[in-house]
Amino acid sequence: MAEPRSPGERAPAKPNRPALALHVPEPKYRPGDKVDFSHLEIPPAGAQPRPDESVHPSAIHDLAFGLIRVLGEDHHAHGPWNPRLDPETLRTMLGHMALVRAFDERMFRGQRQGKTSFYMKCTGEEATSVATAMALASDDMVFPSYRQQGILIARGYPLIDMINQIYSNRADKLKGRQLPIMYSSRAHSFFSISGNLATQCPQAVGWAMASAMRGDSRIAASWVGEGSTAEGDFHAACTFAAVYNAPVILNVINNQWAISSFSGFAGAERTTFAARGLGYGIAALRVDGNDALACYAAAAWAAARARGNHGPTIIEYFTYRAEGHSTSDDPSAYRSAQEREEWPLGDPINRLKQHLIAIGEWDEERHAAMDLACAEKVKATTKEAEKNGILGHGLHHPFHTMFEDVYEELPWHLQEQAEQAIRERIAKFGSERPFG
């Protein structure tokens, strides 16, 4: 058999052996393209069966490929996944989602005005964090990615603390050390957000394993983008979750885009992200991520499954990232602006609003008043937070705090470096100038 003579050299052509061709995925639509999403299979609301939470994963394969939907075109809730929430809870859910959106709008503008370095909106994905968090107990441990501000809002974390963190000011509970939106709050069972992708997945599994070891009743949940499911950490998390039957929910937010890379670069051309669970023997659900009731129902099912010692669940939330990845990219440079308008699953806030109106528990006037109240609340809180400073305009944490918390105790080499930093400050400002 003729072999290539050196690496990189092509083997001689063989008439009976076709030349290989590499497939490089390409999204359907690029800037300027007319968008048509009719190829997406969108089953009607209420069409998917709802198995018992103790079901064996192999018995629910179809749920990894279908789409669990509750809210129909008629704005009513349909089928066995209807979580039958009372109107007050639905209004609370709507209120959280509206507040998240108002918050995102203002913080994005704040970044553009130079008040901070960076921001990330979750527009269009609010249900995947708000409704999902509401389906968990408030002391269940969450390991979020960077687009789950909805969890903090649903858990009542003070808005001002979020803004202080975003501004890295002197009231920032994280002492100005973390990129904006990388929140942490142990008091809210909310794990410290990492900028390294998917690292939170095995950590959530480990927390859940610890809870199970201790005979605790609390479960864990992680969130990861569909793009980051390509990381080894996600697969390690799936393996450990399956091996130890960990009481954990692995949420995958499939918002179609990872910065400029469409979901095909994480494998979406071949199968669904929920189907990742099947190979591991993990129960898998695929959900309309813009249907807050479906998100709630799926998370509640997975939470009941975990709490009953029936094991982990992977939930894929099929949604759409309506805005850019962050303040640092311009989505019009890589995808068609029409995608957002044509997205066949609508907007999660509008769908929940229409549902509440359809059942006679809401109206346009109340909605407009709520939006106004959200905007006012965010505006007033922002002004309050600005008294503590904005990024780059003084009022930061005392600068020596940069040497603290590297270790529990300050070792000699950091002590020496801190002394050097003080000398530098004095040389520069004539005094230590602890702030700013």
């Binding site: 990492s194 950590q203 610890a210």
Partner: protein
């Protein structure tokens, strides 16, 4: 700090009478784990093959039978997963002691160690911590080839937020491992596997002495700890200072003995935090410095030691600092002893250091 430790050591030596227990390094490590599992219900031990089987080097033998499957258990072959779930367990409030079967296998877990465990306290402003102790056999001289022989300590000493500990005797291994487990920061605990069963002299063609002939195999029963960040003066001397850790402490000692030179040999024991005072005091006395490690040379921890000695002890130095290290090659299987910084390389370095 070192003075305090030396007192602890002398006390231990003084109470070591005839007939007292002698342990090899594996037994000492096993005993430290046993003690901590018994003392602290938050301590758990996990890793590949550590459960029923007791570990490929037997370091966890008998622990699963004693403490049960939810405190000592096997894991999937996924170092990323092992470290990742350990970080999550730490966030829950446990004190995990994961084993990475060989230091050479630790790389898939590096993101979880460097970006997560090491930074968690800092990035959450103390909200969350990662009190892990990652145990891993390291170093060569066992015909392990390039994937079972590496000494990657410098990768970890470079990371802010990690501590790196390397014992060289059974007595130290037990006391340091207990201190590492009790430490609230993530600790990398590298166990020099060449000296698990005896204090290897570097003369690989000669019979290996078992630990029972070495004074530091006298290991007291029960709990004791050696504080992290304290070096040990193995041998006081006047001619020059040797800075070493792990296996190379014994090799350097044997070579100095063979050459009849009056070296002051310092076993660093902890690389971060480093016991700089003991180093400075020794160089001030001897004026000469030999650094010995098994890891590859370029950007090895010896480079950091040489820089520190040059920066802080320059006016005491009577000769250039000399480094003896492994070569900058992978660890070759058949030519293991050509790689290893053995007696010939160390002997030549001593001659250079003392020539004027």
């Amino acid at each position: 700090m070192s003075a305090e430790t030396n007192t602890v050591e002398s006390a231990a030596a003084a109470t070591a009478a005839e007939g007292e227990r002698r342990l090899n390094m594996i037994e000492a490590i096993n005993e430290a784990l046993d003690i901590m599992l018994a003392r602290d219900p938050d301590v758990i031990v996990m890793g590949e093959d550590v459960g029923y089987f007791g570990g490929v080097f037997r370091a966890t033998a008998g622990l699963q039978a004693k403490y049960g499957k939810t405190r000592v258990f096997d894991t999937p072959i996924s170092e990323c997963g092992i470290i990742g779930v350990a970080v999550g367990m730490g966030a829950y409030g446990l004190r995990p002691v994961p084993e990475i079967q060989f230091a050479d296998y630790i790389y898939p877990g590096l993101d979880q160690l460097i970006s997560e465990a090491a930074r968690l306290r800092y990035r959450s402003a103390g909200d969350y911590t990662a009190p892990l102790t990652v145990r891993s056999p390291f170093g060569g001289g066992i015909f392990g080839g390039q994937t079972h022989s590496q000494s990657p300590e410098a990768l970890f000493t470079h990371v802010a937020g990690l501590k790196t500990v390397i014992p060289s005797t059974p007595y130290d291994a037990k006391g340091l491992l207990i201190a590492a487990i009790e430490d609230n920061d993530p600790v990398i605990f590298f166990e020099p596997k060449r000296i698990y069963n005896g204090p290897f002299s570097g003369y690989y063609d000669q019979p290996v002495a078992p630990w029972k002939t070495h004074p530091d195999s006298l290991v007291p029963e029960g709990y004791y700890r050696i504080p992290l960040g304290s070096a040990r003066v193995v041998r006081a001397g006047e001619a020059f200072t040797v800075l070493a850790y792990g296996t190379m402490v014994h090799v350097a000692e044997a070579v100095c003995r063979a050459k009849g030179v009056d070296a002051e040999i310092i076993d660093l024991r902890t690389l971060v935090p480093l016991d700089i005072k003991t180093i400075e005091a020794s160089i001030a006395k001897t004026g000469r410095c030999l650094i010995v490690h098994e890891a590859t040379r370029t950007s090895g921890f010896g480079a950091e030691l040489a820089a520190l000695v040059a920066e802080r002890c320059f006016y005491h130095l009577e000769a250039p600092i000399v480094r003896v290290t492994g070569f900058d090659t992978p660890y070759p299987h058949s030519l293991e002893w050509a790689y290893f910084p053995g007696p010939v390389r160390i002997g030549e370095a001593i001659d250079t250091l003392l020539k004027d």
